[in-house]
Structure formats: C-alpha cells, structure tokens
Symmetry: C2
DNA sequence: TTAATACAAAACAAACTGTTCGGTTTTATT
DNA sequence: AATAAAACCGAACAGTTTGTTTTGTATTAA
C-alpha cells in the first residue's frame, strides 16, 4: 500500500479517535474530522464512502489489532480457532485492553462504547461457536445453541463494558473470574 | 394537557415510529419527521428541543406504557416494587410485548433496538435492585452486587432482543424459561 | 525520467438545522 | 357569545453539512 495512503488513513483514524474521546459519534461531522486530520475534503471521500464506513473500518482495524496482539498471531486471526484454551482467550483479551491503546479506549469509553462492542460481540460469537459449540464443549441444556452463544457473548461484552466504565479498577484475572462465575455452569 | 398538544405529540411520535421501522435513527431527519407527521416546523421545535429529546421522550412514554399495562397499575410505576413476584414481572413484560404495539416494535426491531433497550435496561436495573437486592433475594456469591444486577438486566434484555429479532416464534413462557435457566443459580 | 496515483484547494448544489416573524385556528374562561 | 391565551402554520432566514467536481501540484513506483 502506498505510503501516502497509509499516512492519511492513519491521520484520519487518529483524528477520529481523538474526536470520539471528546464527543459522541453522532455529533462529529466529516468537516471536523478532516480539519483535525489535516486532510483535504476530497481525500477523505477517496478513502471512506461515508462516516459510517470510517467507523466500520476503524472497528475492523482495532478488532484485528486486539486479536492479533492478544493471540500473537499477526495477520491471521482466522487461525484463532486453533488450539487455545477458552478462558485464556478471554484473559488475553482483557489483558490487552488493559494496555491502554489510545484508539481502543476512545471507542470503549463513555457514550461510544456500544458501537464498537456490537462489532466486538458479533465477532466473539463466531469465536465461541468455533471454540465451544463445534467442539461439543457447551454443556448440555434445554437452551437453543443460538440463544446460549448469544448469552455468553453478551455476558462477556457486558463484563468488559462494566469494567471499562468503572475505570478498570479490577485486574483482568478478577474480571475473568466474575465472568466465569456467571456462565461456567453453562459452558466450559 | 391541551387536546391540540396531545394530538401533535402523538402525530410526531407515530410518524417517528413509522420512520424508525423503515430506517436507522441516524438517517432520519427532522424534515422527514415533520413531513410524515404533517406538522409545522415551528411546532416540532416547540415540542422537542432536538431529535435526541424526541427519542428520549418516546422511550420514556413507551416504557411507562409497558410497565403500566403489564402491571395494571396505571399512572404509577413507582409502585412497581410492591408485592409482585419476580418471574411474573418478567413474564408480564414479555406478554405485553407480544401484543404487538406498533410503536414498541418499531423501536425494538432491526437496527434501532439498542436505543430503546439501553433505556429499558437502565430502568430494569432499578427494578431488580428494589425487587431483589434490597430484599436480600440475590443468592450470595463473590460477585459485586453492582456486577450481578448489570448481568441479570443485560441477560433479560438480550433475551428479549433475541426473541424479537427472530420474530417472536417462542411463547413468553418459553423465553422466561430460557432466561431463568441462565440466571436462576444467581438469583431467585 | 516518465506515467500513474495520491493529494490539496476551492467552488458547487442540495439538504438539514434551528430560529424568527406574521397570521390563523382552537381552546378555555367569563 | 365574546374574549384572551395558547397552539398552530407557512414562509423565510442564515449557517452548516454533505458529497461532487474541477484544476493543479507533489509523490511514488516503474
């Protein structure tokens, strides 16, 4: 990828993150973004069709980043599903979040966390299906697998959200413990 | 309240709901709302400061409506906390949702459900605190009460969301069963 | 060096926002 | 029934945002 492209792309992402840490997504205009990023109007629209696409791209990029660094498998989180113990996956994710990536925290803090967390959750579902469901590690219950996977994903995302909004006072291990305490009779 | 006020207020609410069932909240403009509601521009802003306030008002109104009709306690859901069995509260809520109030479904279906559900959830938390926590009916655990209440509320809201997005194929009783299966070892 | 590509700056029409003004209809009061 | 208050409408407004186009410059890869 052209050095120039990567440069403006990053400039836009960073500007966007900075703005997200100050105000709501809805209240941010493209104008503000290009001002903050010091980038031409034309350039912005050459990179991102709309503000929504920018957000989506940022989420994708951050999710890939989280997964890659948390798992130590650069450039291929499609291999996520291979040979990792379940709780260590969750623990790794939490540990990585604790390392305070500026961009990630901007997306997770305050009003905007739902945007990223929705994206996060949908990817988490896939992960859980491949990690648990396909390998028959969900405890048998009367619940539809669909429902169960959604419940577990939500519970984890909610745990993360709860943790972040309260300034991450607990350790990742503690949060993992909380999380498992609510779902470990359903799956492990 | 002046009949005229109630009338335009309803017209705006209904128009807004109709639009919400078609497109995203973000993509709806005030212009569209007042066109759909057949209401003057000035009138809209006399009623609602911004689009966000309109949304908030609609959520409040619908939540009150759900609570009132589900509990049969018109005009006072502050007395919600008196003498109702816990699971019947959930069941009542689900039964009421099944009666297909147009406005509520508009807020719950598709892309927009998070908006109302966040509001729903925060009220649910209060309800759970007063129903369970204050009466010592949360099973003892290592979890902070805060965390537990959030988990239970989220689980219910997620259950509702799951139910609705899949066209409410199950009965309210069935969903209550699913919900309780995931949390009844934590509280009852 | 050359040709492609990424960028900037400015201008553009179209739409949206929130407010103001003058005038009309409805409601509650007497 | 008469009147005053309140709610409404329509039009116009300045300001902002959006997404596109155009013209020209700088950077990159070949």
């Amino acid at each position: 990828m052209d050095r120039r492209q990567r440069k403006t792309r990053d400039a836009i992402f960073n500007a966007f993150s900075r703005l997200l840490s100050k105000k709501n997504y809805n209240q941010i205009s493209v104008q503000e973004i290009i001002d903050e990023a010091n980038v031409g109007r034309t350039t912005f629209y050459a990179h991102f069709e709309t503000k929504d696409f920018l957000l989506k791209s940022l989420c994708e990029e951050l999710f890939d980043h989280i997964i890659d660094t948390a798992m130590g498998m650069p450039h291929s989180h499609s291999r996520l599903t291979c040979g990792l113990e379940a709780d260590s996956v969750f623990l790794h994710l939490l540990r990585h979040l604790q390392e305070n990536d500026l961009n990630i925290l901007a997306l997770l803090s305050s009003e905007n966390n739902e945007i990223f967390l929705r994206y996060f959750k949908s990817n988490l579902k896939k992960l859980i299906v491949s990690q648990y469901a396909e390998k028959g590690r969900l405890k048998k219950s009367n619940l539809p697998e669909d429902y169960l996977v959604n419940h577990i994903s939500s519970s984890f995302v909610e745990a993360v959200s709860w943790w972040i909004t309260r300034k991450m006072k607990e350790t990742p291990e503690q949060i993992t413990e909380y999380f498992l305490a609510t779902v470990d009779m359903l799956a492990l």
